[in-house]
Amino acid sequence: MSELVAPSPSNESATAVVEAEHAVDIVLLKRVFEAALMSSQEPLNITELKRLSDTPLETVFIEEVLRQLAKKYADSGIELNRVATGWRFRSRPELQEYLDKLNPQKPPRYSRAVMETLAIIAYRQPVTRGDIEDIRGVNVSPQVLKTLEGRSWIEVIGTRDTPGKPELFATTQQLLDDLNLRTLSELPALAEMGSLLDQSGNHES
């Protein structure tokens, strides 16, 4: 099969990178990226995408190829997204109602206890189980944390140096990926809560 690099008469090292767009078979590269992104279990980052080519590729060039790929799928059933750990294809959420007909057993929605615990870890991380219980005002069952850990949405990132050395929980890249986010800062902004007392001002931001 043809090579990524079209045969060039000489290796002009100084301008090789600049000329990447001319030297590289962009049609083939797009197909390789497409196949790689679609067959990969995990999102692929720029470093991984660079590995797909024999010739060094500049990041801006890779991003251009990704842009073109994303554009190609603008009207299709899937879309190319950039998430926390890289680029990946996903089915369009608006088609989910049809895809659900294939698998009538929808994954269960998480309970309020699970989602509130997740929210506290996401917005207040790193937190201990005690911190979560303080905020929620109830015990946090081990099952709730197990559920979130099982989904690889939270993980223990250390212990707090207090008696009992409680574990500190934080959210993972997997959570961001699964929510189609790039960074924690893309989480919905915390709402400003109206005062519960006449004289009290803004307590928390």
């Binding site: 996903r90 109830v138 929510l179």
Partner: protein, 274 residues
């Protein structure tokens, strides 16, 4: 008990819960939860903070202005009622009632004299309010998080099959690997002195292999045919030594039927096979 509930009904479009198969059409209006509904309420609310928030936000209830004596009586009633079942579930609610009562009582007391400590200045309600607001914020955040499209629930990840051609990957071996394997052998067996061979001797070994290979498919080979015609002098010498070495190791047999006659070389195997 349900009848007593009817005294404070707040019509709702759908039943919030079913108690003993009967729909419970309203949520509690104050901190008093009828014992029959306690289990339902415990399941409906995430905890006392959740219940307090509900009462404050939905019913504009001033949780700090409710008659504490009445509340205390009601909650003490729980303890008796629930002693036999699931008291532990209500414990958090009872604790909250205790906190409320404590706040109320502190507010009734005269303020302690200023001692410079900021804490003593604080409104006893402030801590509870702070907790309620923080919880409410997290509750809203949880709702928003849940609204975000989730992989597997609201969209699927694309993963097409990778066509794997069945190509067996063979280990790559470098000269360096061979060298280190040999070194390992030497180190282990301490046979380095015994097996110390000069570079030339390896050439002899190579030539021995070549000669044996030449002899493999034939019976007799003329001695001189084992020497390449275009070989240089060192190669001729090496080949000669190789043949001698082979003879010494009884790998070949060199025969000469008559003096100054043709010399033939054959493998020992050829002898044994025939």
């Amino acid at each position: 008990m349900l009848e007593s509930d009817q005294q404070i009904p707040l019509p709702m479009s759908t039943p919030v819960a079913h108690v003993h198969g009967l729909p419970m059409m309203e949520m509690p209006l104050d901190l008093y939860i009828p014992p029959d509904a306690l289990e339902v309420v415990l399941a409906t609310f995430q905890g006392p903070l959740d219940l307090l928030l509900y009462l404050i936000r939905k019913h504009n209830l001033d949780v700090l202005d409710i008659p504490m004596a009445q509340l205390t009586q009601q909650y003490m009633g729980y303890i008796e009622l629930m002693q036999n079942n699931r008291l532990e579930l209500a414990a958090e609610y009872l604790l909250m009632a205790a906190v409320l009562i404590e706040i109320k009582s502190r507010m009734l007391l005269p303020r302690p004299p200023k001692q410079g400590g900021a804490e003593s200045e604080e409104d006893p309600r402030a801590e509870l309010m702070r907790r309620l607001l923080e919880y409410e914020q997290m509750k809203a955040a949880a709702h928003q998080l849940n609204e975000l499209p989730q992989a597997g629930r609201d969209y699927e990840l694309v993963q097409v099959l990778i066509e794997h051609a069945v190509v067996e990957r063979l280990p790559h071996v470098s000269v360096e690997d061979l060298r280190s394997a040999w070194l390992a052998l030497l180190t282990r067996a301490k046979i380095n002195a015994h097996h110390k061979v000069r570079r030339e001797e390896l050439s002899v070994r190579e030539q021995m292999t070549k000669v044996l290979r030449q002899l493999r498919d034939t019976d007799f080979v003329p001695f001189e045919s084992l020497f390449e015609s275009d070989a240089n002098i060192p190669m001729l010498v090496v080949t000669f030594i190789a043949i001698l070495e082979l003879a010494k190791e009884s790998l070949v047999e060199i025969t000469q039927t008559e003096t100054l006659g043709k010399i033939y070389v054959r493998t020992s195997r050829a002898i044994t096979v025939e």
